[in-house]
């Protein structure tokens, strides 16, 4: 545990620059700048199999290799907007292991030929931004940032930028718009950021946790990194565990660890010895998995989680126990998504509004099956029809709970579902 990302739990004071350097901190960056071609570094990260930890799980090295070399300057933008309900991992990394994260930013910048990197933090991370600013100033003082680094002709500056409370800015193109001083609304893609990013220039956008892996890949090598996790999902992952568990918190474990091990061995099981009912593996954006033995024994990696009907996403595991009714739960998630919809795409803007009202009606015992069917109908019509994933995300808990936790809705409506209505529900989902 804590082998790569949460090393501050093992190494006292690694958050101080001197201590970080005693543990070979910035040796990898120096070696890269003085002895490696940028492309070599990209190839190394590609070979490590590191996949983006923000949610999509795309190959990090591959993304870096997409940077357009015919247009300049290049930028690196770090997504530190961490806003998914259930996710609180990036905050711990930046607070307690800031220099490893910052070295990761520097390595990425060198690999893609960027001389400026911005760290976009959600506005609530106001104290954290000040902490990072102080860390960046220390690096400048020690010649780890600035001009002609280590006697080379490479120069780099890192700046923090605070958002101001908008979940949508975790979506990379909305984040770029926001950083440009505009409303945080997603762009039509393609073009993708590696060819058209910040200020229309080639830009690599990576998540905090993704970049915090890179210094140790450079320092200890690709084989060492691949010694953790699975063939297709190498490395460790910080799992944010929350909800009805005894010991919520961040746990760094190899990808492929089972839900059961995380929830029962590390998380101490369910609060007050109650029974587990459902798991949301990707925060509020997640489908609800029925927490049976099959699900609990499923490895948490990018390939396996879909086999039980959800995505790993940012690995924010929200545990739901038997006392929770799904009508309440989706009312909560819809409240969130309606509030956070940026308003650009009609299906999401209007759909989240109506879904929220329908879940409210169901939750307050004012609904019939027609309302539940209408809710699922709206959800099915939002899915796949928006510029970014927020619209889809808002439907996941709604559709999966109606499909997989039918009993909760029967109890709320006070009647069993008729056969024609059941057929209608099924048809909506298959469309």
């Amino acid at each position: 545990m804590n082998d790569i990302l949460l090393r501050h739990r093992e190494i006292k004071d690694i958050g101080q620059l001197a201590v970080y350097r005693q543990h070979e901190g910035f040796e990898g960056f120096k070696r890269a700048v003085t002895g490696m071609q940028p492309d070599e570094l990209t190839e190394m990260v590609k070979a490590s199999g590191l996949r983006g930890r923000g949610g999509a799980g795309f190959s990090t090295g591959m993304k870096w290799s997409f940077i357009d070399k015919n247009a300049w300057p290049h930028y690196v933008v770090v997504n530190a907007d961490e806003s998914e309900p259930g996710t609180f991992k990036d905050r711990e990394i930046m607070e307690s292991n800031p220099f490893q994260f910052l070295e990761g930013v520097a390595l990425c910048a060198y690999a893609v030929g960027a001389h400026t990197a911005y760290i976009y933090l959600r506005g609530e991370f106001w104290q954290l931004a000040a902490h990072l600013d102080a860390s960046i100033a220390e690096m400048e003082k020690e010649g780890l940032l600035g001009d002609n680094l280590f006697g080379s002709d490479y120069s780099l500056r890192i700046y923090t930028h605070l958002g101001a409370g908008a979940y949508i800015c975790g979506e990379e193109t909305a984040l770029l718009e926001s950083l440009e001083g505009k409303l945080g609304q997603p762009r039509l893609r393609p073009p993708f950021p590696p060819s058209f990013g910040l200020y229309g220039k080639p830009t690599i956008v990576n998540n905090v946790e993704t970049l915090a892996n890179v210094p140790l890949i450079v320092q200890k090598g690709v084989d060492w990194f691949r010694g953790f996790g699975t063939e297709k999902s190498p490395g460790t992952k910080v799992f944010s565990l929350s909800g009805n568990v005894v010991k919520p918190g961040n746990y760094e474990l190899p990808l492929g660890t089972t839900f059961r091990e995380l929830i029962y061995t590390h998380g101490g099981g369910i609060t007050d010895g109650r029974k587990i009912k459902a798991i949301m593996p990707a925060g509020a954006s997640s489908s609800l998995i029925v927490a049976d033995d099959k699900a609990l024994d499923t490895p948490m990696d990018y390939e396996s989680v879909p086999s039980v009907g959800a995505m790993l996403g940012s690995a924010s595991i929200i545990v739901v126990d038997e006392t929770v009714s799904m009508d309440w739960l989706i009312n909560k998630t819809m409240h969130f998504f309606q509030h956070e919809s940026c308003g650009k795409c009609t299906p999401c803007r209007e759909g989240t509004y109506w879904m929220r009202h329908l879940t409210e009606r169901i939750h307050h015992n004012q609904a019939t099956w027609d309302d539940v069917i209408l809710l699922q109908d709206v959800a099915s019509n939002v899915k796949g029809k928006c510029l970014c994933a927020l619209g889809d995300f808002s439907t996941e808990a709604v559709i999966s709970s109606i499909t997989r936790f039918r009993g909760d809705f029967e109890a709320k409506v006070g009647a069993p579902l008729s056969a024609p209505a059941e057929a209608e529900l099924k048809e909506q989902v298959s469309n």
Partner: protein, 168 residues
Amino acid sequence: MNPLRERYGQEIDDILAKYPQEQKRSAVMPLLYVAQREYGYVTREHLGQIGEILAIAPTEVASIVGFYTLYHDTPGGKYRLQICNDLPCALRGADKFLEGVCDHLGVKPGETSEDGVVTVEAVMCLAACDKAPMFQVQSAEGISYHENQTVQSTIALVDGWRKKEETK
């Protein structure tokens, strides 16, 4: 002379230096934070002053204020107590906690206490789900996190603010 620029010249120059010269608009969010520090909300005059510094229309600045939740265009309490009651926090009792705090202060979510010291707001996820009930406090001093809270610890904090305001 632009009053914001006059009062916070060095700070504003430092902010502008972070972005390419022809991309000054990127500074709109940090400048709004500077302006909001003055009275706890952004005034109409601020919109014009920021627009002038960045060479954009005041309505464009206003659109940013409207879009992002941490900017306010109306006065509120000196301290905005922003309680997260999103799903993970609610599973750990955040709704009850919010209710308890509101009852104690005699306000509803969104309202300001009679003495003008505190506004209680229910907000979206703050990335502290494992330490609920929790809230952040937004004030002239910035934003601070308060985790693993109880109604009692929260009221004690509010009482501290009240004393501080009385002695001002």
